[in-house]
C-alpha cells in the first residue's frame, strides 16, 4: 500500500504568546518587559486521510484547527511530530509539493483588491507555470462550475463577499491541486451562497478525486460534505470517525418530540427526561439513548400523547455539549490543582 496522501503523526505546535494586561499601564509594562507563556496550540495529534476523502475539522475557536492546517500546508514548522502530505514534508516547501496543494482561507484574500480577479489568475498561471491551453480549459471549467463569467472582469473591491469567495476559490484551484485545505471557506456568506460553495467543493472533489480538509463554523457545511470528521479541542484530538457515530458516541441522548392533547406541567414531564422545550402542547425531551424505547412507551401509556417522534439531537448541539463538558472537566481539574496547591 502506498502512503496516504495526508498523514500527521504526533503532530505538535507550541507557541510562546506574549501576555498583555489591559489598559495603557499594561501596554507600557508589556513594552518593556513582555511576559510569555506557552500555549499548546496543537498537542500530539495523529491521523491519516485517504485519497479522495473530504474530512471536516471541528472545534471551537482557538482549538488548533487552523494551526494544524498551517502545519500541513507548510506554513508552520511543527514543534514536534511529523506531517506528511503527498509524500512530502510540508515545511520544506518544495515546489513539487506546493504545485499540488492549495490553501483557501475564508478570512483572508489573495486576490488583488484594485484589479479584476482575472489579473490575479494570470499571475497565478505564471507562478504555477500552467500551459496556456490547460489554463484556458481549467478556467472554463471553473467559470462554469462557479458561474464566474460576469465576475472575472469586475474590480475585486466591487464584488460582493460571496462573489469574491467564488473568485478566491477559482484562483486557488487553477493549478488543479490534489490536496485542498479549506479554512472556513463559507464564513460570512449567506445560506444560498454557502450551499453553492458546498456544492462546488463536492463537485470538485468528484471530478478531480481531490483530497479535502475543511474547517467550518457551519455544521451544515460539514454534514453536507464530510462523511468523516476530526474533532479537535484545546489542541487535542477528541474524535476521529464517521459523523453519525459521532452523534451516537458523544450524544448519549435522543430527542423525543411530543405533541400532547392537553398541556402537562413541567414537573410531570421531567420524570421522563430532560425538558429542552415546552411550549404548551409541544414538548421536546432528551432521554438516554439506551432507554429510549422504554421511555417512549411510558410516555404513550401515561400521557395524552397525540404524536411522538424520536430523533438524534442536532449535531450542533452535540458538539457544543461535548465542548462544554470538556471545558467543565478542565475547570474542575484546575480547581482541584489549585486546592492541592493551598
Amino acid at each position: 500500500m502506498s502512503e496516504p496522501p495526508i498523514a500527521a503523526t504526533h503532530l505538535k505546535k507550541y507557541y510562546q504568546v506574549h501576555h498583555k494586561e489591559p489598559g495603557l499601564g499594561g501596554s507600557l509594562k508589556s513594552f518593556f518587559r513582555r511576559k510569555y507563556r506557552d500555549v499548546k496550540a496543537v498537542d500530539d495529534i495523529s491521523f491519516e486521510i485517504a485519497a479522495g476523502e473530504i474530512v471536516g475539522f471541528l472545534g471551537p475557536n482557538g482549538a488548533g484547527k487552523t494551526t494544524t492546517l498551517k502545519m500541513l500546508s507548510g506554513l508552520l514548522y511543527p514543534s514536534g511530530g511529523r506531517a506528511r502530505v503527498l509524500g512530502f514534508t510540508p515545511n520544506e516547501r518544495q515546489p513539487a509539493y506546493l504545485r499540488r496543494m492549495t490553501l483557501v482561507m475564508g478570512q483572508k484574500q489573495q486576490l488583488n483588491w484594485d484589479l479584476p480577479a482575472i489579473e490575479t489568475f494570470l499571475v497565478n498561471q505564471a507562478i504555477y507555470e500552467i500551459p496556456d491551453d490547460v489554463y484556458r480549459k481549467t478556467l472554463d471549467e471553473l467559470t462554469e462550475l462557479l458561474a464566474l463569467a460576469s465576475l472575472l472582469k469586475k474590480q475585486v473591491r466591487k464584488l460582493s463577499l460571496g462573489e469574491r469567495m467564488k473568485c478566491e476559490l477559482a484562483a486557488a484551484l487553477l493549478h488543479q491541486p490534489q490536496v485542498l485545505f479549506l479554512d472556513e471557506p463559507t464564513i460570512g456568506l449567506d445560506v444560498t451562497m454557502q450551499t453553492k460553495i458546498r456544492e462546488f467543493v463536492a463537485e470538485y472533489n468528484r471530478r478531480y478525486q481531490a483530497t479535502v480538509i475543511l474547517t467550518s463554523h457551519y455544521m451544515a457545511d460539514v454534514t453536507a460534505l464530510c462523511k468523516r470528521v476530526i474533532v479537535i479541542d484545546h489542541g487535542k484530538l477528541m474524535y476521529d470517525g464517521g459523523l453519525e457515530e459521532l452523534a451516537a458516541r458523544m450524544a448519549p441522548h435522543k430527542l423525543l418530540r411530543v405533541e400532547l392533547a392537553s398541556a402537562v406541567d413541567g414537573q410531570n414531564l421531567a420524570r421522563y427526561g430532560e425538558v429542552v422545550k415546552a411550549e404548551g402542547q409541544r414538548v421536546e425531551l432528551l432521554a438516554p439513548r439506551s432507554k429510549i424505547s422504554e421511555t417512549a412507551a411510558r410516555l404513550l401509556a401515561e400521557l395524552p400523547v397525540v404524536d411522538v417522534t424520536i430523533q438524534d439531537p442536532p449535531i450542533e448541539d452535540v458538539i457544543t455539549r461535548v465542548f462544554e463538558e470538556a471545558a467543565r472537566a478542565r475547570q474542575a481539574d484546575a480547581a482541584e490543582e489549585a486546592a492541592e496547591d493551598d
Partner: protein, 262 residues
C-alpha cells in the same frame, strides 16, 4: 530562471495596470519628482553662491552626486518602497501565507512583485542631471571610467537592495517597520553631498555601516577620475558580503515566521 523573467514582466504589468486605476496619482507623482529635483538643485546652487567648493568638490561635481542621489531615490521609490509597504501589510493581516504556499521563491516575490512606475521619472531626471553636469564640465569619461561607473552602479544597486531586504526581513519580527524606512531615508539624505563633506566617525559610518557613500559619491567619482581603485574593490566586497548576510537573514526569518491570527 526564464520563469522569473517572465514573472517579473507579469508583476510589473500588473502593477502598471493597478496604477492606471488611479489616474490622478500619475500627475501628482510626475509633478513631485520634477519639483524635488529642482528643489535639490536650488539648494546646491544657493550653497555655491557663498562658497566655491563643498568638501573639495566643485558645483558641477556635486551636481553629479545629486544626480545619483535622485536616481537611486527613484529606484528605491519605484522598486523597493511599494514592496516593503505591501509586505508589511501582508504580514500584518496574514496574507503573506498565500505567498509562502506558492511554488515561487518567496524572497523574489516579496522583493519585486510591485512597482511604482511613475517614480522612474526620478531615475530619468537624475540621469539627465548627471549628463548635464558632465557636459558643463566638458568631461568625457573614458571607457574604463564608464566600466568602473557601471560596476559601482551595480554595487550600489545591490547595497540598496540589501538594505531594503534587511528592513523587509525585520517585518517578520516587528511587523510595523515603517519607521525603519523613515530612519533609512534620514540617513539617505546625507547622500545629496559627497562623502568628503562629513568627517571622522560619521564618514566611516556612512561608508561602511550604512554605505551611502557607495550609492552616490563613489559612482560619481568614477565618472570624474576621482575614484581610488581601492574603493571599487571594497565596494564589490561589501556588496558580496551584505548580499550573503541579508539572504541568510531572510531565510532564517521565514523559518521562524509564525503567521498572524493563527
Amino acid at each position: 530562471m526564464f520563469k522569473y523573467f517572465k514573472l517579473l514582466g507579469i508583476f510589473w504589468k500588473f502593477s502598471v495596470l493597478r496604477e492606471l486605476e488611479y489616474r490622478a496619482n500619475f500627475l501628482t507623482n510626475a509633478f513631485m519628482s520634477v519639483f524635488w529635483l529642482f528643489w535639490g538643485i536650488i539648494g546646491t546652487t544657493i550653497f555655491f553662491a557663498h562658497s566655491d567648493t563643498l568638501g573639495g568638490w566643485t558645483y558641477e561635481q556635486v551636481l553629479v552626486v545629486l544626480g545619483l542621489y535622485t536616481m537611486f531615490l527613484g529606484i528605491m521609490e519605484a522598486f523597493f518602497r511599494p514592496n516593503i509597504t505591501e509586505m508589511i501589510e501582508q504580514v500584518r493581516v496574514g496574507t503573506f501565507d498565500f505567498v509562502l504556499v506558492k511554488p515561487v521563491n518567496a524572497q523574489f516575490y516579496a522583493s519585486f512583485h510591485s512597482l511604482t512606475m511613475w517614480r522612474l521619472a526620478d531615475v530619468v531626471a537624475g540621469a539627465g542631471l548627471i549628463l548635464y553636469a558632465l557636459r558643463a564640465m566638458g568631461l568625457t569619461p573614458t571607457p574604463m571610467q564608464w566600466l568602473a561607473f557601471a560596476l559601482l552602479l551595480a554595487v550600489a544597486l545591490i547595497l540598496v537592495y540589501c538594505i531594503w531586504l534587511g528592513m523587509m526581513t525585520m517585518s517578520f519580527w516587528f511587523v510595523k517597520i515603517d519607521n525603519f524606512a523613515e530612519l533609512f531615508y534620514a540617513f539617505y539624505e546625507t547622500g545629496r553631498f559627497p562623502i568628503s563633506v562629513y568627517s571622522g566617525l560619521l564618514r566611516a559610518f556612512l561608508t561602511f555601516v550604512i554605505p551611502i557613500a557607495f550609492i552616490t559619491t563613489f559612482p560619481a567619482s568614477a565618472l570624474m577620475a576621482l575614484l581610488d581603485p581601492m574603493e571599487l574593490l571594497i565596494g564589490l566586497g561589501l556588496a558580496f558580503l551584505l548580499l550573503g548576510f541579508t539572504n541568510r537573514l531572510w531565510r532564517f526569518a521565514v523559518r521562524s515566521y509564525a503567521s498572524a491570527s493563527s
